[in-house]
Amino acid sequence: MFFKNYQLTFMTTTFLGTLMAVSSNSWILCWIGLEINLMSFIPLILSDLNFKSTETAIKYFLTQAVASVILITAASFTALQMKNYYLESMNFFLFLALSIKAGLAPFHIWFPQVTEFISWFKCFIIFTWQKIAPFMLIINFNISVFTYFIIIMSATAGAVGGLNQMSSKILLTYSSISHSAWMLMLASLSLKFWTFYFLIYFFVLSPIIFAMNFLNFKKIKEINSSKINLKTKLMLSTLIMSLGGLPPFLGFLSKLIALTVAVKTFPMVIMITLVASSLVSLYFYTKMFFNSLTASLPEKKISSSEKKINKFIIFSLAGNLILSNLVLLI
């Protein structure tokens, strides 16, 4: 199963914190919501009972606490300056704080170190849920030079960082960083586009995490060995390719729509960087499963856990393969 029963207490407050931060009128309430989120995520990290979970929790706490400090300071400064209208002078720092919270480069150092030692489900929460609050708050800001800087850095860091890695969690971390770059570009435009991209990312990522959880794949070597049947291998490989943004799959649709929407507003360099980083990151996506499909190893029968995964993955596969083509046919 995904999570233990006792983790439910703090999961509710995590979700509550995000919802509070998103639906708030002032920055102080945002800060409160984000702090609730942070504080209730720490016990979730600690409940893993790893030999490194304390260290992970401390790293996570420190980074996010620094971000919260910057946030509350900048929020106070805006409140101080506000007489009749809202001055945007502190937007830079608010944006900075939120990007540290989301794990965008160049503030992404904590991200792989944290995700390496927590369980798959917490990974999933960090990749998806913890990004909702920062991005939804970033929607309020205008596009600035700093936005361009972060997009380019995140794209590069996400692509290049994953090239030398062995552990599949860290690969997904760097993929999350590079997807965050795309999400940042869309969030600077409007809510609708970011929601679209985020939902597709969520939809594509969840069966992968589910499968990795069940099959207990920690390193790339394990995926590439033939412990799983050919059908499962094919399904997993199509899902990973969809995450990487390869054309007929769903992941490509999100990137395509992002490009067609953002090409009117963003300078061309950023588009090119994003697309190039997508291309380079395809390398480590392919590394995950390529050997399993091309090496000739003896086939094994389907085990019972695979049957459970397969049932789940098939639905997401249907979405991945068919949905994007249906949209394009219009």
Partner: protein, 550 residues
């Protein structure tokens, strides 16, 4: 079947002179749209009808001919794909879909030539596909050149404002057609491609693949106009292959060279601007040439798979019906009066003689027609009137399954010429002096008998087997040698380029170099992961503090 429907509509469309375009808009993207068009006019429909007719006959035939073959399914699939590509190419009005069909034709003909997997077939397939590839490159360049003119259709290129601009495209199209139809510099592959199974030769190398080039030129006829270059090349090919077939000893190679000769005739008529006559000759030639190949297949089958004509003799006794068909189609090929070959090739020759030309052209044309006759008669002599040269005393009779498709074809090849000529060209006015008009017919009848006397002379025997002249003329003026061995220095240079460029600095800049540099950068970036967090935090906090105060 489909062929009959196609033919009927084709001829109907000719009468009403209408063309039907079927368009399918694949997708439109801002202001451009990608549309897939098929053209149905009388030429494409009748040609489709012909292709389907011949391919259905060949498929019936090949079930019997290739029985006992382990991979018959593969063979049938390949033939099917071939027909699909051919029909697609015929029905396309623009260069992109022509290229699709063209490439499909080249690829599938390669697969069919190497069907029997031995060294000779491999070499033959290689030279086939490489020669065709030159034409593919020409069409690709043509596509990119046509981007200037706004459309890839071939109708619009005739309206281009000045000829110099479109002349490059014309050169490319002629090059493509020359390589596909095995005209003079590129004719090495057609006799070599006889390493394919005989049904393949009947379908591919007699009627459809090699006529694809001629069909392309017919489609471009408004842009080409009257072309000197085509005239010369066609005449040269006709002459050379006719001469070469007289010295050749392999049955299928003789028939291949006769195909080449008739292709040269088609090119000549195109060069003169008579595209309708070229098309008509294409249709009728396909009928009797495929029939010739099928008969040759029966002969080869009955002699135990040898193709040498010195091993044949007395085949009239063992395969009577087939030899009847063989004689009839040979006569149709030569232009025997009122068989189908007469209506098509004779018409071209008479129209040729109506115009002004120099002595050499006239002589070459007469001589080439003569050669058609001589190699056909030579073939007849060696297969029927020779002493029994059979190495093994084996002769399998023809089977009824192989005869039925041949019967259909003989029916069409005898009658189709007359029917189509009355239908397509009801009024022909020919104005020739008497000796020119009678030249061809008297040649046919006289040389038919003269040849039987000639072939027994000792001098002829000595020339035709061992001398250097015979070697030169018989191997198509040393073309296969030039196309393969003489090009070796160029290929060696290509190997050098491969080592220097493709596996040299291009790798360094593109594939391997990029991944090395990326891995290097990534490993350096990973260092930060092992640095202690404390240092990072502190420096970051200090930085932000400075920013706040500034």
């Amino acid at each position: 079947m489909a062929s009959l429907i196609s033919m009927r509509f084709g001829l109907l469309y000719f009468l009403s002179a209408e063309t039907m375009f079927v368009e399918w808009e694949m997708f439109s993207f801002s202001s451009t749209s990608i549309i897939m068009i098929l053209i149905f006019d009388w030429m494409s429909l009748s040609f489709t009808g012909l292709v389907m007719f011949i391919s259905s006959m060949v498929l019936f035939y090949s079930i019997m001919y290739m029985e006992g073959d382990k991979f018959l399914t593969r063979f049938i699939f390949l033939v099917y794909f071939f027909v699909l590509s051919m029909v697609f190419m015929i029905l396309s009005p623009n260069m992109i879909s022509i290229l699709l069909g063209w490439d499909g034709l080249g690829l599938v003909s390669y697969c069919l030539v190497i069907y029997y997997q031995n060294v000779k077939s491999a070499n033959a397939g290689m030279i086939t596909v490489l020669s065709n590839r030159v034409g593919d490159v020409a069409i690709l360049l043509c596509i990119s050149w046509l981007l200037n003119f706004g459309s890839w259709n071939f109708f619009y290129s005739q309206f281009v404002y000045s000829y110099e601009v479109v002349s490059f495209m014309v050169i490319l199209v002629i090059l493509a057609a020359m390589t596909k139809s095995a005209q003079m510099p590129f004719s090495a592959w057609l006799p070599a491609a006889m390493a394919a199974p005989t049904p393949v030769s009947a379908l591919v190398h007699s009627s459809t693949l090699v006529t694809a080039g001629v069909y392309l030129l017919i489609r471009f006829n408004y842009t080409l106009g009257i072309n000197n270059f085509l005239l010369f090349i066609g005449m040269l090919t006709m002459f050379m292959s006719g001469l070469g077939a007289n010295f050749e000893m392999d049955l299928k190679k003789i028939i291949a060279l006769s195909t080449l000769s008739q292709l040269g005739l088609m090119m000549t008529s195109l060069g003169l601007g008579f595209y309708e006559y070229a098309f008509f000759h294409l249709l009728t030639h396909a009928m009797f040439k495929s029939l010739l190949f099928l008969c040759a297949g029966v002969f080869i089958h009955s002699m135990g798979d040898t193709q040498d004509i010195r091993a044949m003799g007395g085949l009239m006794i063992s395969c009577p019906v087939t030899s009847l068909y063989f004689i009839i189609s040979s006569m149709a090929l030569c232009g025997f009066p009122f068989l189908s070959g007469f209506f098509s090739s004779d018409m071209i020759i008479e129209f040729f003689f109506q115009g002004k030309m120099n002595l050499i052209m006239g002589c070459l044309m007469v001589l080439s027609t003569l050669f058609t006759l001589t190699y056909s008669v030579r073939l007849l002599y060696f297969s029927f009137f020779n002493n029994m040269g059979n190495r093994y005393f084996l002769s399998l009779a023809e089977s009824i399954n192989m005869l039925i498709p041949m019967t259909f074809l003989i029916f069409m090849s005898v009658l189709a010429g007359g029917w189509l000529s009355v239908y397509l060209f009801p009024m022909n006015f020919i104005f020739l002096p008497l000796w020119l008009k009678l030249l061809v017919v008297t040649m046919i009848f006289s040389f038919f008998f003269i040849y039987f006397f000639l072939v027994d002379f000792k001098v002829m025997k000595k020339i035709s087997s061992t001398s250097g002249l015979a070697y030169f003329l018989g191997s198509m003026w040393l073309l296969p040698f030039i196309s393969t061995f003489a090009l070796t220095p160029i290929i060696k240079y290509g190997v050098k380029i491969l080592n220097l460029v493709d596996q040299g600095w291009v790798e360094f800049l593109g594939g391997q170099g990029f991944i090395d540099k990326s891995k290097f950068i990534s490993s350096k970036a990973d260092v930060l992961n092992s640095v202690s967090m404390k240092f990072f935090m502190f420096s970051f906090f200090m930085g932000v503090l400075v920013l706040f105060l500034a």
